[in-house]
């Protein structure tokens, strides 16, 4: 009994020493202390403060969004101007273009052997043609067979390279993604180095190899190295490494063969990436310049990209229409598959 009492007293003393109150202050009491007017005033003050703060925040946010929109709009305008410029100008008549832009090429020395002539004149930048004609297009497509041949050359060079490289890259990147070993990483690293190498580095040996294979000055001289380029492998391997290993294990347990895993799991999962890559590769090879210049000495065989840059100057009258027609296939592909492209590109960058 004594001990019990002592214990309780000790507890009370300890609590008192530590200033521990078992009773809590009732939350109401703060407001109850106020008079009604005070309370009203308090609430009014608080309401006002919070509304002004909210308003300020809203204003700041609107201003920031407006600034952001202005920046984004101006940058996208910069991105779009050249494209619109080309298309709008392609509907001008040739005379108008020559009167507007011929001064530009008088001052250029680029491919012109006579050198630059610095006559100070100003070109007229016009976006809207005075009279809308499709004469440029008709001259280009019906009077100028060379152009159509070059267009066909571009297609016949680009499509096999893109298709072939995708097929080879799917197989190779599957093997790189599925089996990671030290030595294979070294091989992968060397693939990356090869991907980064500019074409000019191996220009001479490539020329010699094409010569010994007897494919110099044929389409194969460009198609074959293009098919085995390692760019697609790099991107696709990065993508395939994201496939959860659980999928593959589950398929193995269900008795799928290696080829089935490849065709039924890996490829469908990488559909977006394959699509995006196809577009990227198409643009890349559609724009080929160096390879045809060196490996195709016969100008008949050269693609449009080389030809167009050469006719810019002498035939400015149809240059814009030529550019527009040349731009149409990539733009169509882009509009058609933009969603896949964005999806495919985006996933390749995240680890």
């Amino acid at each position: 009994m004594d001990a019990e009492l002592r214990k309780q007293r000790r507890l009370a003393a300890t609590k008192a020493r530590r200033n521990v109150f078992t009773e809590t202050v009732h939350p109401k009491s703060y407001f109850e202390l106020m008079t009604d007017e005070e309370r009203e005033a308090f609430f009014a003050r608080e309401r006002k403060r919070s509304t002004t703060a909210l308003k300020q925040r809203k204003i700041r946010k609107t201003i920031l969004t407006a600034i952001g929109l202005v920046i984004a709009c101006s940058i996208s305008l910069l991105a779009l101007v050249p494209i619109f410029f080309t298309f709008l100008n392609s509907f001008m008549s040739s005379d108008e273009i020559i009167s507007n832009y011929s001064v530009i090429f008088q001052s250029m020395s680029g491919h012109n052997s006579s050198g630059a002539t610095y006559l100070s004149r100003t070109p007229v930048l016009k976006l809207i043609p005075e009279e809308v004609t499709i004469k440029q297009y008709t001259t280009l497509l019906f009077m100028n067979p060379a152009y159509l041949f070059k267009f066909w050359n571009s297609i016949i060079l680009t499509l096999p390279i893109v298709g072939g490289q995708m097929a080879v890259a799917c197989l190779a990147s599957y093997s790189f993604a599925r089996y990671r070993k030290k030595r294979r990483e070294v091989l992968f690293f060397s693939y990356i180095i090869l991907m980064l190498m500019p074409f000019q580095v191996t220009l001479v040996p490539n020329y010699m190899i094409a010569d010994t294979l007897g494919i110099l000055n044929t389409y194969w001289a460009i198609i074959l190295p293009g098919v085995f380029s390692t760019f697609a492998i790099f991107l696709l391997t990065k993508y395939m490494r994201q496939i959860p290993s659980g999928y593959i294990e589950a398929a193995t347990i269900d008795g799928a063969t290696e080829w089935q895993i490849f065709t039924k799991i890996a490829i469908p999962l990488c559909k977006n990436a394959i699509f995006a890559l196809t577009i990227l590769l198409f643009i890349d090879y559609w724009n080929m310049v160096e390879q045809p210049l060196v490996l195709l000495t016969d100008t008949e065989l050269q693609p449009l990209s080389v030809f167009l840059a050469q006719i810019n100057e002498p035939e400015i009258g149809i240059a814009f229409a030529a550019s527009a027609v040349y731009m149409i296939p990539p733009l169509l592909i882009f509009l058609w598959g933009e969603e896949y492209l964005v999806e495919g590109i985006s996933r390749s960058g995240i680890k």
Binding site: T65, A116, Y118, Q200, V204, N206, N312, M327, I350
Partner: protein, 392 residues
């Protein structure tokens, strides 16, 4: 008490025997013993994953390497029955043999599959990329393609003292060093701008992705119209600011003009990559950081940058590739011999090709290869270091 102390002190050293203190395995029982000791070795020796101690500890915690964490006291409660023990019977031996064989066959099959999938690509790369490089290496030590005398490093001396080569590599390097970081930073800025709740995000995204699609000849035409001596830009500056006309592509600003072209072409692609990476950052972490009082700047440098690092490396590599590809435009705009500060390594090689100076070309190419291997190697090493940080 004394005994347990002794055990304590000797605990970390005796890794082999400690798992089987009272094991009844006979010493002549070879296969099982080796199996058991291998078992023990795997369990007890801490895995040296990376040189960092923290990584070690984390790896032990996650991989379930409990043996590394067992205290001596807890260890005493392990009874011999806990350790699997195998009798040395002929069946068991046969099983072990079979398993060994199976493992070998499986590894062989894996290797076969790997090689099978890789073969088409590897053969092509061998013929069209590795073989040329090896030929390049040979010709770089020869006097000339017709006179195949070994001349040692004479060609390298020649190329490294060649003014054109030095100027070209300087230009290429400057271009890459300025434009690649600029492309990364601007794209990141744009991505963050679009990601900050701007209306019409996807519209802007597709608009900015558009320049990537414009073919090279069209780009060249547009740039000619805008930046030549009698071009549109000069017309504007003369009209509005009364400035003197400059021939942009033949002045000190030539590289700036090309950089503009490079950025115009590649910002969209880089931005899409960054947008995806920004969306992949877990929102809870950002939220909790902002609750802890981290401002936007702090949040960016402490959290976002960390998550973005793989993407930054990827974008950097892609921009590096594209900065080499910009040669097409430069070549079509300005021809074989552009203004001094646009003379790139590719121009040098192209010109040496047309001049038939193959030995100089090949030694220059090899020098470029070596520099590139070093750069990419450093990039990848850095990436793997950053990756390991993120995984932790």
């Amino acid at each position: 008490m004394g005994l347990s102390e002794k055990e304590n002190s000797s605990f970390p050293k005796e890794t082999e025997t400690r798992v089987r203190p009272g094991s009844q395995l006979a010493p002549e029982n070879k296969t099982t013993e080796s199996a058991a000791s291998r078992h023990a070795a795997v369990k007890t020796t801490p895995k040296k994953t990376r040189s960092k101690k923290r990584a070690d500890k984390a790896a032990d915690d996650h991989t379930g390497n409990y043996a590394a964490r067992i205290t001596p006291k807890a260890y005493e409660t392990l009874v011999p029955g806990d350790i699997p023990e195998f009798e040395d019977t002929p069946e068991r031996r046969a099983l072990v043999e079979k398993r060994k064989k199976g493992r070998f066959m499986r590894r062989l099959r894996d290797w076969g599959i790997f090689t099978g999938y890789l073969t088409p690509s590897f053969l092509g790369v061998l013929v069209f990329f590795f073989l040329p490089l090896i030929m390049l290496l040979f010709t770089s030590f020869q006097k000339s393609p017709t006179n195949t005398d070994f001349v040692g490093f004479r060609n390298y001396e020649r190329v490294l003292t060649n003014d054109a080569f030095i100027a070209a590599s300087k230009n290429t390097l400057t271009f890459a060093l300025i434009s690649v970081p600029l492309a990364v930073v601007l794209a990141l800025f744009l991505a963050m701008l679009l990601n900050s709740g701007l209306p019409g995000k996807s519209v802007f995204r597709s608009i900015l992705l558009n320049p990537m699609m414009v073919p090279v000849a069209s780009v060249v035409l547009i740039w000619q119209v805008f930046f030549s001596y009698n071009g549109v830009i000069n017309g504007w500056t003369a009209q509005f600011f009364q400035l003197d006309k400059i021939d942009w592509l033949k002045s000190q600003y030539a590289q700036v003009v090309i950089m503009l072209l490079f950025l115009w072409k590649n910002l969209g692609y880089n931005m899409v990559l960054f947008l995806a990476a920004l969306n992949a950052i877990p929102g809870e972490i950002l939220e909790s950081a902002s609750l802890d009082g981290a401002g936007p700047v702090k949040r960016f440098f402490a959290i976002k940058l960390h998550y973005l690092s793989p993407t930054i490396f990827f974008v950097g590599i892609m921009s590096l590739i594209n900065s080499f590809k910009i040669f097409r435009e430069v070549y079509l705009l300005t021809g074989d011999y552009p203004f001094d500060n646009l003379y790139m390594l590719q121009h040098f090689m192209n010109n040496k090709f047309t001049q038939l100076d193959y030995s100089l070309l090949s030694s220059g190419a090899i020098v470029m290869c070596i520099v590139m291997i070093i750069i990419v190697g450093v990039l990848f090493y850095a990436e793997s270091r950053f990756d390991s940080d993120v995984e932790e």
